[in-house]
């Protein structure tokens, strides 16, 4: 008799899964592979709740397979390492982000850009190369190839480090790639959520002047006093936007809802760069003259490779950068998802897996 999908592997595992596109999560028994020679197994202690988790459990992007165990901002402590593993030992603090596999031989992989590899496999809701479905970090244990494990330095509290693995790298990578990391440059961060607040912290640590642009005036005080932004613009206030025309070297646009590019492009100086890391469903309207007069560009970026992810973690460690989190119990997750849909969180939910995920077996 063929094994059911959730019992295909030898090691019992437990987590919370969505069963259908309502996105409602509930306890779920499943299994993980045993620790292969290149694998690292770890007990998951915390997992960040990324907006992608919400999109995926509700099948908003299409392609969702159920039951789905989301979570790609997981951290914990190593319990077992395979015989060929060299970089990690039992007891190490580690994490896994958005990917668990890539082909390791294409041009992208050879340039440490596994995230752009056409054979890259996502941490959850993807088909692994052994034919099984990947399950993410809303679970008690994780097994992943050493190459996709990130080391978490001791000075980063585990409950605040998880979101670096997706939100953190997603904004760190384009700041570096597009050269928006030089002291003295002026960068705007559009949207102050999980991605946005991390962008403010990284940009300040890189020595940039940072302006937050948001639809919510009530976020101003925190943006400046807690996150360290230099100034704040309300995007619906035409006067405020007008006063900032031609003042930005770069803009990191984290907004995932539909919005307009032209007012943002107007804020850029000559040679300015607007980087989109949010993923609105509809295409943008782009007046070509706005790019031509001023030699401006619109670029995209999606997470980052493993080498850069570790570099980002080490940078965060050096500058004491972690996410601002609201730690929740596993059974709060459905309420958290409802609040996330309304952007009601400062600025990332993190599930206290270690203390609140209980197996029913």
């Amino acid at each position: 008799m063929a094994k059911s999908m959730d019992q295909q592997h030898p090691v019992k595992a437990f987590g919370w899964a969505a069963r259908d596109s309502s996105g409602h999560l509930s306890p779920y028994n499943f299994s993980r592979r045993s620790t292969g020679e290149n694998d690292v197994a770890f007990k998951v202690l915390y997992c960040g709740v990324c907006h992608s988790d919400l999109h995926s459990i509700k099948n908003e992007w299409g392609g969702s397979t159920y039951p789905m165990v989301p979570g790609h901002e997981m951290v914990g402590v190593v319990t077992e390492v395979g015989s060929k593993v060299t970089k990690f030992n039992v007891g190490d603090r580690v994490g896994v982000g958005c990917m668990v596999w890539s082909c390791r031989s294409c041009d992208s992989c050879s340039s440490d850009l596994e995230n752009y590899c056409l054979g890259m496999i996502l941490t959850y809701n993807a088909k692994y190369h052994d034919g099984t479905i990947t399950y993410g970090g809303y679970s008690n244990l994780m097994v992943a190839d050493e190459h996709f494990i990130v080391s978490i330095p001791d000075n980063l509290p585990l409950e605040r480090a998880g979101p670096l693995l997706c939100a953190g790298i997603t904004v760190y990578s384009p700041l570096r790639y597009y050269g928006l990391d030089k002291p003295g440059l002026h960068v705007a961060v559009v949207g102050l959520g999980g991605l946005g607040h991390m962008a403010v912290k990284f940009a300040k640590a890189m020595g940039l002047k940072v302006t937050v642009i948001s639809t919510s005036p009530n976020k101003k005080q925190e943006a400046i006093e807690r996150l360290g932004a230099d100034s704040f613009l309300v995007s619906r206030d035409q006067e405020q936007l007008r006063s900032a025309i031609g003042t930005m070297d770069g803009i990191i646009d984290t907004v995932s809802a539909a919005h307009h590019l032209p007012p943002l492009l107007g804020l850029l100086k000559t040679n300015g760069k607007l980087i989109v890391v949010g993923a609105p469903e509809k295409p943008f309207e782009l007046p070509a003259f706005q790019l031509i007069y001023g030699r401006k560009l619109v670029g995209g970026s999606g997470i980052g490779g493993m080498k850069e992810t570790q570099e980002m973690i080490d940078f965060a460690s050096k500058h004491n950068i972690t996410s601002e989190v609201e730690v929740i119990r596993m059974d709060y997750i459905n309420t958290a998802m409802e609040r996330l849909a309304k952007a009601d969180v400062k600025y990332r939910f993190v599930i206290d897996i270690g203390n609140s995920l209980q197996t029913t077996e």
């Binding site: 850009l113 993923a279 295409p283 790019l291 030699r295 560009l297 970026s301």
Partner: protein, 357 residues
């Protein structure tokens, strides 16, 4: 009362101008300033016909001041130099391109990017510092500050070299700025007109593999045999387009009509760059997922600064690159404009001003 064009300045000048939105050009008497201490006077031999001349003559962009004397791909001979001028000598071949002045002091000008200065003065239809309107190269001579005059290197033909002053620099500048010059990489050139054919030639000179992307299948033979392109993609052929997805490192998009960006962005590989230099009237649609998942970018570029324009001319002289032109007489300009509307030219008209004005 405002002075008539003939009386505005002390030197009598003659050219062809458009007087209304029909864009029809006809003989026109006007005047130019005296040659000042920093000025160079150029007797015009040739002037390229840029599509911008057509847009402006017909007020398609909405800011034309009539009468308008177009022309910003000017090549001629120096007839006078001011007392402060040491770079140019009487009798030398020189060029004047799209800009004749800028503020010269802002941060942008100091980076040799006069083309992005907020106070750029364009060669025609623009207001000089003395508040008079500028008149372009469809005329017998022009007086320009030495800073905005280009030396025409030896070996560069005067007639076929004229279009370099706008078409040439418009594609050369972004290819350098966006790093589209790594030998062996693959460049797509969308649109095969004045800008496009220059991009093909420059691309080959940079050692790139070049594919022309066009809606006109009949352009293929020339693109490959005459211009040196390596391959040709017809945009309406969805299966060959699909087969080419993810194969290009760079794309120069010269198409001035509204067109879909999504298929072009799909042609780019990871980290690919698309630069738009055409100016469609309506906004383009920019698909976001493709940019984010492949770390691709779409950038713009607008002509180039004077220093870079000189660098481009020297590069073209060295690599024996010039435009493919159809030489016309001044009185044929209206017919040429009608043909230009239909893209019926391979690939730039150049007016033989010296022999026909």
């Amino acid at each position: 009362m405002a002075k008539a064009p003939e009386q505005e300045h002390p030197q009598k000048a003659f050219g062809w101008a458009a007087h209304d939105v029909s864009g029809t050009l006809s003989p026109f008497h006007f005047s130019r300033r005296e040659n000042g201490a920093d000025d160079v006077t150029v007797k015009i031999q040739y002037c390229g016909v840029c599509h911008s001349d057509l847009h402006s003559a017909k007020n398609e962009w909405g800011f034309t001041n009539y009468p308008i004397v177009p022309g910003h791909e000017i090549v001629g001979t120096v007839t006078k130099v001011g007392s402060n001028v040491s770079k140019f000598k009487v009798g030398e071949p020189v060029g004047v391109g799209v800009i004749v002045d800028s503020c010269r002091s802002c941060e942008i000008c100091q980076q040799d990017l006069e083309n992005y200065c907020p106070e750029t003065v364009f060669t025609y239809n623009s207001f000089s510092k003395d508040k008079s309107i500028t008149y372009g190269g469809y005329s017998d001579f022009i007086v320009v500050d030495q800073r905005f005059v280009l030396r025409f290197p030896e070996g560069l033909p005067l007639d076929a070299g004229a279009p370099l002053l706008c078409a040439g620099i418009t594609v050369y500048s972004p290819m350098k700025y966006y790093g589209m010059t790594e030998p062996g990489k693959h460049l797509g050139v969308a649109g095969l007109g004045g800008l496009g054919h220059m991009a093909v030639k420059l691309g080959k000179a940079f050692g790139l593999k070049v594919t022309v992307i066009s809606s006109s299948p009949h352009k293929e033979a020339e693109a490959i045999q005459k211009l040196g392109a390596d391959s040709f993609l017809v945009t309406s052929d969805s299966s060959t387009m699909k087969a080419a997805f993810g194969t290009m490192d760079y794309i120069i998009d010269t198409i001035s009509a509204v067109h879909p960006l999504a298929p072009l962005i799909s042609l780019l590989r990871m980290n690919g760059k698309l630069v738009t230099v055409g100016l469609p009237e309506k906004p383009l649609e920019l698909p976001i997922f493709s940019l984010v998942l492949g770390r691709k970018l779409v950038g713009g570029s607008d002509i180039g600064g004077i220093k870079e324009t000189q660098e481009m001319l020297d590069f073209c002289a060295k690599h024996k690159i010039a435009a493919d032109i159809e030489l016309i007489r001044m009185e044929e300009i209206n017919t040429a404009m009608e043909r230009l509307v239909k893209s019926d030219v391979k690939y730039r008209f150049v007016i033989d001003v010296g022999n026909s004005l």
